[in-house]
Symmetry: C2
Subunit: 309 residues, 2 copies
């Protein structure tokens, strides 16, 4: 028994297309409809066979679905929600994959027709790639999906959405939307902002050329460039939509960085050592929790050393 | 013909032990001597067969070597240099693997006996792991090794050290020590400082628990924890020894971050988008230069999705 029989995925980028593949792979009986506002993405989706039925409009895709998932940047949620409103059947469930949850609730709540369940969700998974060809079925395996049902949400609908994500391989957690936004501000939004920022800093130097930055990036910089290669529209919207939590975390980060700066300026090796030493425990815990690989250097290939006897 | 016949590696952590393995693998005829001030590391090195001769003192290891490589944290270089001084034979070459080059030159120059060549080097390679068991022979393959010979350095000695690193699989570049320090401040030291700092910020929140930070780290945070798991002594010394360049880069980074902060506060999506968009080009260039893998999400395993038909 599948939690949903007809699923519509609106937006077929990295996340939407991965979700389509994951549904296909794990819930073969489910009828899958899809839509993307970009005709090229729809054509690619058809070529890849992502869905059973590629619709020409969002409403057409949503029509008849018992689960409709919005997988578009946060800034596009409200317009999309409005466009599918007439197509949502009584008893259907509306969900999404947005990275900031209070914003999604604020944008969509008044659009949800009576009798339709609204269960916002955020799968904490992704890569630095974008688009329908970048998706893959196992993207969500072992990763957390956070549900943030608004007050008064039907518990049965929440349970069905939880079962849906579990079926795909995710672990599911439920929390308040505002708390979600604070947690993600520190675990995801702040790291992305910092990564984007340092990549900008490194590109704009007078004394160090860009080619030097690239050549010697293996010293640490390249790790930041990975997440700074993520979709710029999606991330612009995240920062605009989760503004308060991001600014709060940024202020704390800036304070902590200033303390390290001061320690460097005054040659306070003890403070530096104490702070650095503490970081190892968190890394260990992330690996133990299965949220990262323990392979040195992310298991990056170093090539096979040539032998010259 | 090997560039050196007898090599001594002093310090057998990640870098020193990798270098020993690389020499063994690529220059089988070379006689390898080793030393580490930690008796446990020496015992491990013996068990792993890292070197032909494990010495009980640094001077004993250096004795008779035509290349002596110091592979210890920057803060330990001068004492080590002083201790091996009497053992350095005329015509021998002294080198190192320190991450900050002017500091190494400042600490060692007056200790180098007449007739001994001093060729500082920095292989821009490493992982977040430490110790002799973390090393591997291919660590330096395809990575850059930067030589920073001081004024008046014998070009033939420089060429031999370059040949040595080339033999190991590295690409070799020569530059001025101060320029090296500026380049590495941005490509390596600043990223590490920021990573250490954000890991600290995330550990110290009241509203978000550490277990939440760990659970949801796949949203970006975990990438920062990798480099923040690096050796704390080594990094303390880097920041103390490359202070001016690090503070300079940090000031620039803080300015750039403040500009993004302002854009978020004022809802300036255009500025955010423009900055984020620019980052992708640098990522692409790093991958094209062979300095990182193009595998999505660093090729991290996502597990195989379980099928429940």
């Amino acid at each position: 028994m599948q939690p949903f029989a007809q699923v519509a995925i609106l937006g077929l980028g990295l996340i939407g297309s991965s979700l389509a593949r994951a549904v296909r792979h794990n819930m073969p009986g489910v009828a899958l409809a899809g839509f993307d506002q970009d005709p090229e993405v729809r054509a690619t989706g058809n070529r890849l066979g992502l869905v059973d039925r590629m619709a020409e409009t969002a409403a057409e895709a949503a029509h008849g679905a018992d689960l409709v998932v919005l997988a578009v940047p946060l800034g596009a949620m409200r317009a999309l929600g409005a466009s599918i409103r007439p197509a949502l059947a009584k008893g259907a469930t509306l969900s999404d994959v947005g990275s900031s949850k209070q914003a999604v609730i604020d944008q969509l709540s008044d659009l949800v027709p009576a009798g339709v369940h609204f269960v916002p969700a955020h799968p904490v998974a992704g890569t630095e790639k974008s688009g329908p060809e970048a998706g893959f079925a196992s993207l969500f395996v072992g990763r957390w999906c956070i549900l943030t049902p608004p007050d008064g949400c039907d518990p049965e609908a929440v349970a069905k959405v939880a079962a849906f994500w579990t079926r795909i391989g995710s672990k599911v957690e439920t929390m308040d939307a505002r708390h979600h936004d604070l947690v993600l501000a520190v675990t995801s939004h702040l790291p992305h902002l910092i990564a984007y920022s340092i990549v900008g800093t490194a590109s704009d130097l007078e004394d160090v050329t860009q080619s030097e930055v690239i050549k010697y990036s293996a010293g640490g910089f390249r790790d930041f460039t990975r997440i700074a290669a993520s979709d710029p529209v999606m991330w612009r919207d995240v920062f605009l939509m989760n503004r308060d939590a991001v600014l709060e975390m940024l202020a704390r980060f800036s304070e902590d960085l200033a303390a390290l700066q001061r320690a460097i300026r005054w040659g306070d090796g003890e403070t530096l050592y104490r702070r650095f030493e503490a970081s190892r425990a968190i890394r260990r815990a992330i690996i133990d929790a299965g949220q990262d690989t323990d392979a040195p250097d992310f298991g990056r290939p170093h090539g096979e050393p040539a032998r010259h006897p």
